[in-house]
Symmetry: C2
Subunit: 309 residues, 2 copies
Amino acid sequence: MKHSYALAIHGGAGVVPRAHMGEALSERYHTALRGILERVSDLLSEGESSVAAVEAAVCALEDDPLFNAGRGAVFTAAGGQEMDAAIMDGRDRRAGAVGGLLGPRNPVQVARVLMEQDGPLFMIGAGALAVARRAGLPFESEDYFRTEERQRSLEAFLELQARGERSSDPSLLHGTVGAVALDKQGNLAAATSTGGFTGKQSGRIGDSPIIGAGTFADNATCAVSATGSGEVFIRWTAASEIAARMQHAGEPLEAAANHVVQTVLAPRDGSGGLIAVDREGNISMPFNCEGMYRGSIRSDRPAETHIYR
Amino acid sequence: MKHSYALAIHGGAGVVPRAHMGEALSERYHTALRGILERVSDLLSEGESSVAAVEAAVCALEDDPLFNAGRGAVFTAAGGQEMDAAIMDGRDRRAGAVGGLLGPRNPVQVARVLMEQDGPLFMIGAGALAVARRAGLPFESEDYFRTEERQRSLEAFLELQARGERSSDPSLLHGTVGAVALDKQGNLAAATSTGGFTGKQSGRIGDSPIIGAGTFADNATCAVSATGSGEVFIRWTAASEIAARMQHAGEPLEAAANHVVQTVLAPRDGSGGLIAVDREGNISMPFNCEGMYRGSIRSDRPAETHIYR
């Protein structure tokens, strides 16, 4: 059965380990995810496009300092913040992507501007900032994006590094936000945004802005937004491999998404997960680590949110 | 029949239009391509790896100001040079990529350093330069990279732009270099390097450093290096789509590569071409525009080079 609209969002596979997750913090995550699902599904219910829906969902996740994107992005080893984002329209596979940004309140909006223009698809650094300024997008001061908690995470990371150790805390290792949607017109879209991982080298670009790795949408198959060990997701073209399995091997979404996450990525240190939706409104949210902040809503059922298995 | 080694190289689909190509200039292109094919196939014949071969071939193409990569890279609208490159190893799909670089003599070598390290796969700007410096790679002054011919191309581009026109000269629109190889151990590799296109916006990243778009290698399928309208190649994940058609639809290399270039890219303004090799040593070099500087050599036959159809 085809559902008239569907929406899934994620707040990253870098969850706070269950042992450290208090009830109050857990509730804050569930409340944030549920609020976004409900607001954005209202847009879809009113007939808004999947592109507008995923942009709105990712903007809300970027604005919430709980999640590693926009406000509350993690710090690089040098103590800065560098954000990557992408958006893709399943109707014609138009896309926009940015990397290494600090300034625009919502990096995904800069990606959207690039998608709507007939010019560069992917822009980095000062060039991307110039695009955002010309488009009149809101900018924020460095203080707006920085939170004490991310500062403490960097300090913890640097202390471990000085002792020659690495953290195994997934909330340090990765974190990303994303959304995928099917709208009433039958069109798919995906968007992803991230600050990367705590202590990343300045200049490192992850999988989020790479079309086919962290972000992908094509009406012929599916829309995907990923979160995890970005380098491994890039090498295995995680998002477009799901589409390829659907298109060329005839696999359904769930089988293709599970195969990529559990059989392709997991054995190769590709820790993480992804959210995906197809044209029938089927939603898949596989992950191969302790948890993934995630939720979904569909025309036939209310919002549900999850953190762990 | 399986061939013991194979090598293909390209100098971009942005060829000088046939009407403007004099015999002396044509001969320079053929001589440059042939020299590189012969030198690098000697490496393969001696048992060198496909990764070493594609790196050596792309370094030679970067060093030659005839081609738009490294020395002789085209100018951005702002009069600068910003280079992108990537390399990928088909054995385990490890990869390295850089974007927005000026300084290292051979951008592909910076990508190789990233591939060999257990860290970021894709780095941009100052962060990528720091990696190159730590690795002790040779740097060159801005003068080294600039040529009078590229300067004139930018002037011509800006004049047209000021009149609200666009050039249709493919040698302004795109240009890239790349190599794909099969070595005697049966391993595939690919590398790509570019200055982008004349008059590009500062900060624009094309398909060359995007794994799955402009560069791809997997022993299970093929190695690919692309050249063309980068944005379209990114949207349609040009390189990995060839691999997907081979793996999931059972298509041979030639059919898959032709399909992507002629049926997927061409109708969508995806002007350009690519070179590809599979594990049997089959070589495919399709393009959908006037020409592509290209050549190949294999254990069973001498070098051949071509510019037009």
